[in-house]
Symmetry: C2
Subunit: 420 residues, 2 copies
């Protein structure tokens, strides 16, 4: 479905939702080079949502990078939300479920509060970075919630018995049950799930009229998808077959195009800022425009333009003909060439990134790219100081000091162990 035809098809029976996750607002906020990245990306997402006139934005957790975001970070985020989400625009989405069950401290979705004029509601679960903590067990999302800026849901009150109550949404003839579960400690949730203690409340079990029996069932959560150990992830097969679409947060690689499993599909939007220099974070970053009508859905992906280029590469020195194991200089010269080629590649991909027809203005200037080369120096190759190596790339690369990562063994696990 092309974007233009989708616009025409969008009608009063079609939910239109922007899906995004892991914005990690405030990541490296004091860094003179990369400090703005997380804010710019989040603002671009808000702009896209506004241009697309979505019914709402759905976020999959880790909105903030820090559990206690700094005051400037919180302030800037709130200002963006106030700028983009407040205004005149009547929502056609009704909520049929008990909102005091759905939304913890403010027992009402912001756009249904008569005292707030919300043009674009945001619904969010928490991630592991912005999970509830401390006195009162509050998340930074609670501050946005009490300010009427975000509808924070999916905060399971019991860890013994995880019961997930959906937000039942109705737009025209379409019905959507939106299930959410904020991040829970990985092993714990795995065990509870395996033991059958994770339950999805179905509308019909809840006394909701039978007409909800055939609603579209969507689930957003924030856990490991990649296996980091026997119980340190949630296997896809745990997910209930009644679900139609799962929005998987926490994993930073953008695999937003829905992947089909037994009875459902998974969309993994990925992060909007790279918090590690890994292969996964180097994939082009998108948000999704999800449309749902009756039992059908469509997801259109939109590439973000503000994302700083990230080039990731693995070099196995023993496979490079031009270098000698004991000749540091030959290795250095070779790797300098690799960096140059990656900068060039970043430029080309940047052009492509800016050429996307998302309605967002292209960025005037390419930000300095992030470069990461994993250098396998097994078989007796020399190494040298990556910091000194980076000196000549200052002002050309965003991370001159840590471009090179020397690693000896090739037998590292495939999944990236970085916590996201």
């Amino acid at each position: 479905m092309s974007m233009s035809s989708m616009d025409e098809d969008t009608n009063e029976n079609t939910f239109k939702i922007l899906v995004a996750t892991d914005n990690h607002i405030g990541y490296l906020e004091t860094d003179p080079v990369r400090g703005q990245d997380s804010f710019l990306a989040f603002e671009e997402i808000l702009k896209i949502a506004k241009l697309q006139q979505v019914d709402f934005i759905l976020l999959g957790g880790d909105l903030f990078h820090a559990n206690r975001p700094s005051r400037p970070c919180l302030h800037r985020t709130m200002r963006m939300l106030r700028n983009y989400c407040f205004g005149d625009r009547e929502s056609k989405v009704w909520i049929a479920s008990d909102q005091s069950e759905n939304f913890g401290d403010i027992a009402q979705a912001n756009y249904l509060d008569e005292n707030l004029n919300i043009s674009m509601p945001v619904f969010s679960i928490h991630g592991n970075h912005d999970d509830p903590s401390g006195v009162g067990n509050l998340s930074a999302l609670n501050l946005l919630s009490v300010a009427g800026m975000v509808n924070y849901f999916g905060n399971s009150t019991s860890i013994q018995d995880v019961t997930i109550q959906p937000i039942l949404m109705k737009k025209g003839t379409s019905k959507l049950a939106l299930y959410g579960l904020g991040n829970i400690r990985e092993e714990r949730l795995h065990r509870q799930w395996r033991a059958g203690h994770v339950k999805f409340t179905r509308p019909e079990d809840d006394g909701t009229p039978n007409s909800w029996k055939n609603c579209f069932n969507m689930f957003v959560f924030h856990q490991n998808r990649a296996r980091h150990g026997p119980t340190n992830y949630i296997p896809e097969e745990f997910l209930d077959e009644f679900l139609d679409l799962v929005v998987w947060g926490h994993e930073h690689e953008c695999r937003i195009f829905p992947e089909h499993y037994e009875d459902f599909s998974i969309t993994q939007p990925g992060s909007s800022v790279a918090t590690s220099l890994s292969q996964g974070e180097a994939a082009p970053k998108h948000v999704g425009i999800l449309t749902i009508e009756g039992g059908n859905y469509n997801l259109e992906k939109i590439r973000l333009k503000t994302i700083r280029p990230l080039q990731f590469m693995t070099v196995v020195l023993s496979r490079v003909e031009s270098v000698e194991p004991s000749d540091k200089n030959s290795i250095r010269v070779y790797l300098e060439g690799v960096v140059e080629s990656l900068i060039e590649k970043a430029k080309n991909e940047w052009e492509e990134q800016q050429g996307q027809d998302s309605g967002i203005e292209p960025c005037l200037e390419m930000p300095m790219p992030l470069i990461r080369i994993r250098v396998d120096y097994s078989d007796g190759y020399e190494t040298f100081n990556p910091l000194r190596f980076g000196q000549r790339f200052i002002k050309r690369v965003a991370n001159p000091n840590d471009m090179l990562k020397f690693q000896k063994t090739r037998t590292r696990p495939i999944t990236d162990m970085t916590a996201t």
Copy 2:
């Protein structure tokens, strides 16, 4: 003017303003006994403002006790503001001044924002406790401001040249110029003021129509009033004679009944929670209902009912007949009697406090009182451990561990040096 007659007189030409200051929300918030005090008092103030249907609330700084209020503190404050200040009620107060000059980051008073339904606006300057700091030079009030909950004003951008632009407010035929200045380091402001670098912009100098020439001029600020050293306070004579009424924040003693100086009056509302156990904090705590019509004003004081009783007393042992200098036990027995009498006094005053006709329900139970006895033990009197002394008053006194303060000299300065 009695309260009932005032209600009748309040009309479309009369500003009705609740004035309060130094709420120190979050003070001792983790203390099991006193943790709720600051919240309860602030909520009572909001209730009174709502009952009185004031046009707005004016706060004189130190809304928060901590520069970086804890998440629970911020959350609870925001929830209260959302509960009490949002709702349907059209304001008849117009703002004629440039709001982008008046209000820093959000260039508009919240109640004039079409996206917010504000029934009761709050205007506040910052104090020394909640002053701007850190990256972006933000105050906790900026978070409330961007959330549309408080109209934060009086944050002078330059310290070299303090120019105070009023908020020009009009209600019917009455005109009010509200000047505000958030706390500035004491000595610095004193010097600047003395050197003539503190300027109040008068409406007529600003191109505002001449009709503003006879407006009511009010100034709210937050500095030492008591002399703490040659330049460590602002003398009343610094204040410009064009002012009609000055609302003095920072000083915690309630001297809310306007005191007349040369050409103007000063109202000092005092804190709504005792942050030190001093004579000043022991005075009954009130907020004011200020009415302004044309050039006239009236201030009605309303006693707060939720305030924990505080009894302060000085005992000079050498003047007590029943005690012997070397007889610790006689001193202890005497002071125990003093504590008992102060508890009794607290009970009597509590009844009086609860009997006030403010429209607020009396508190069901008296909270344990705060007791502070300054014991002058000059002339060779024995002292003992105040902590052990307090043991028998646990569960009867809020601060059993520090009721007694032994002091040797009688020649201490009259003003309390505690920073407020």
